[in-house]
Symmetry: C2
Subunit: 323 residues, 2 copies
Amino acid sequence: MTAAMAVYTEISDGELTRFLAEYDLGAPLSCKGIAEGVENSNFLIRTERGSFILTLYEKRVNERDLPFFIALMEHLAAQGFSCPTPIAGRDGRALRRLCGRPAAVISFLEGLWPREILPFHCAGVGDALARLHAAGAGFPMSRPNDLSLEGWQQLIGATARQADSVAPGLAAELAEEMAALRRAWPQGLPSGICHADMFPDNVFFRDRAVSGVIDFYFACTEAFAYDLAICVNAWCFEPDFSWNPDKGKLLVDAYQAVRPLTPEERHAFPVLARGSALRFLLTRLYDWLNRSAGALVRPKDPLEYLAKLRFHRAAEGAATYGL
Amino acid sequence: MTAAMAVYTEISDGELTRFLAEYDLGAPLSCKGIAEGVENSNFLIRTERGSFILTLYEKRVNERDLPFFIALMEHLAAQGFSCPTPIAGRDGRALRRLCGRPAAVISFLEGLWPREILPFHCAGVGDALARLHAAGAGFPMSRPNDLSLEGWQQLIGATARQADSVAPGLAAELAEEMAALRRAWPQGLPSGICHADMFPDNVFFRDRAVSGVIDFYFACTEAFAYDLAICVNAWCFEPDFSWNPDKGKLLVDAYQAVRPLTPEERHAFPVLARGSALRFLLTRLYDWLNRSAGALVRPKDPLEYLAKLRFHRAAEGAATYGL
């Protein structure tokens, strides 16, 4: 398996030393750009005080959202949820600037993310998601999900002309799906802080248990069951895109052991699964159609999520998901 | 400054755990692909015993050369030269296989490589190079430099048709330079183990002193003064490609404080400087002309080394370099 990943910004040793002098972390001992995360530049730094992640926020992250993300990680960590903790400089601020970009130092989380999803991973992620939803209660800030219905509509508009080059008839299929989801989209479900991107590369395991969750840069205020649907899409299909009902049941059972779904959430789940499949189908399709020849990151295959969307459309109610 | 770097191979958590079980390093705690090195895939791993670099050797490294590189690092480290030390598995072997590729775990070196070259860096690298040459004495293996005259001739042939698309008249200039270097190339200079790629990203500093040298995958048996010429090219020109005589003198003086050049080496130095400039000009030109649309690594600018080559051609003897 070959992966393409990128570091977008290079930090000089002088800039790094000056930047770290604003913290109580001691001098830098090493700094390695790490090939994870396609949105930002991440560096694993070792200082006299330990290991940390230094993130430079690249243009795909809206700078106005950064205070929300930083405060959310602080809140979740304070609630005992294992996630990166922003490290404040001596002036108390965690969000700073480096190389002309917003930057933050966050704690380093141990663990490995699973490349091959085994059933125990699905149980672990269901449990972790429910604990994340519980830990988010009481967080005072909110952030709308800009990748919900209106965001999808925009992406459909932006991809309509070229979508059929990826799969014949795709543009029409997307428009029909959008119309159906607009009619069926549930309102008033239990909602709160959602991760909204809890894919395998964002969940670390150690000794078969979740050791931490990273990358809160899509986090938003959303229906909890929609976040669960994102996880089901990301963790419970096999590499050939076939649905694995055992993994699905393990994931939703582990979630419900912490927070049982309401009848309304169970009823809405098939529609939420379609919506979350459409969301990743559309962003992948957009990235696919707009990839540049000199791109540092290989776009992900949009057809994976087209297959998942079609599975959900054909599914016969919540029982499909073990609900 | 934007950098493009790559990890070519992804390692699953299961493969990593099984691989590390062959060592006495404890269980893996984390594994991050690092965005350094354009030839191989490198991972910074943390285990219960500490931090290490795991390298998967990609196709650009000839597998038959790996025993030489591994044994050389072991030899240099045993001589007290600060470089990565290969870690042997329980069976005593350091060179193993992972993900279908040759792989080795090597020790992690602290330090930062300089993005901006200051005069003290040049003194440090001159001293380190001379100590490396001394530490290589007694190493029983040898490896010819396949990027010397015959290698350049091959690269000139492979780039001749397209070279003028990079700079008008370049193909003819390269052929003339090659002919001149063939006539003038020195024989019988003091030789031994050379690094042959001691560029800034391969030299780590801490507290203004060299803390270690990495990446021995071009190391070979070569004239020591040629290795010095590679360093002079890599460290003593400014970003606008202009020669900095102060940096040049600091580098060669620090080298000579450990190992003074012979009169023959001083006399040959301008030709060696041209040859080493041609060597990097040709490999960069080849990579530039053969870059693919989906490349993960942006090729380096060949014109940088054309400017350096022209400087050396116009130079008036060894005095130019403070020799």
